[in-house]
Amino acid sequence: EAGVVQSPRYKIIEKKQPVAFWCNPISGHNTLYWYLQNLGQGPELLIRYENEEAVDDSQLPKDRFSAERLKGVDSTLKIQPAELGDSAVYLCASGVGTSGRNEQFFGPGTRLTVL
């Protein structure tokens, strides 16, 4: 079974530029999460989707971050414009739902460097 796929794996941009990350969850997983992980810290939730609906985006800085999950499968996270402090690893995770085990499976992440 294929895992969560993310691209690109690495991205280097200059501040004020836009950037987008893509995530393809595990087939059949209706719940999708985007996390931000700073160096030496645990992941922090940015947004959670159930199917195509964003059910928790309270931690998403909406002035510059946006996300979408069209058709309830793939998802895109965008930053526009990027700031120096956005340098981090952006992780995507998916699961079969929040009841029961609610186990999340993580992708390899996109490491963003903003210069």
Binding site: Y33, G40, Q41, G42, P43, R48, L91, T98, S99
Partner: protein, 111 residues
């Protein structure tokens, strides 16, 4: 606000020794997860603990959950170098409404 703490944050131990990592949290929950992360890699699910008193074991690692004490432990038996990694606990309250990770414990197992 849910807070998740881990102790210790850094752990250096010799091969063959035993040790325990602690994860405590501030709000009632009966679902707790342990993940492993190698440098530059993503998170790998180790254990899913879904009830008070749950105990899971895999190889040299054993995890337990005490929901009354709001405490989970990850016990390492006879450590080997391959266990060197960062270990995160994560707590889920209200069925996914709030999923919060601890800061991680960076484990180094020395020969």
């Amino acid at each position: 606000e849910l807070k998740v703490e881990q102790n210790p944050l850094f752990l250096s131990m010799q091969e063959g020794k035993n040790y325990t990592i602690y994860c405590n949290y501030s709000t009632t929950s009966d679902r707790l997860y342990w993940y492993r992360q190698d440098p530059g890699k993503s998170l790998e699910s180790l254990f899913v603990l879904l009830s008070n008193g749950a105990v899971k074991q895999e190889g040299r690692l054993m995890a337990s959950l005490d929901t009354k004490a709001r405490l989970s432990t990850l016990h390492i038996t006879a450590a080997v170098h391959d266990l060197s990694a960062t270990y995160f606990c994560a707590v889920d309250i209200n069925y996914g409404q709030n999923f919060v990770f601890g800061p991680g414990t960076r484990l180094s197992v020395l020969p």
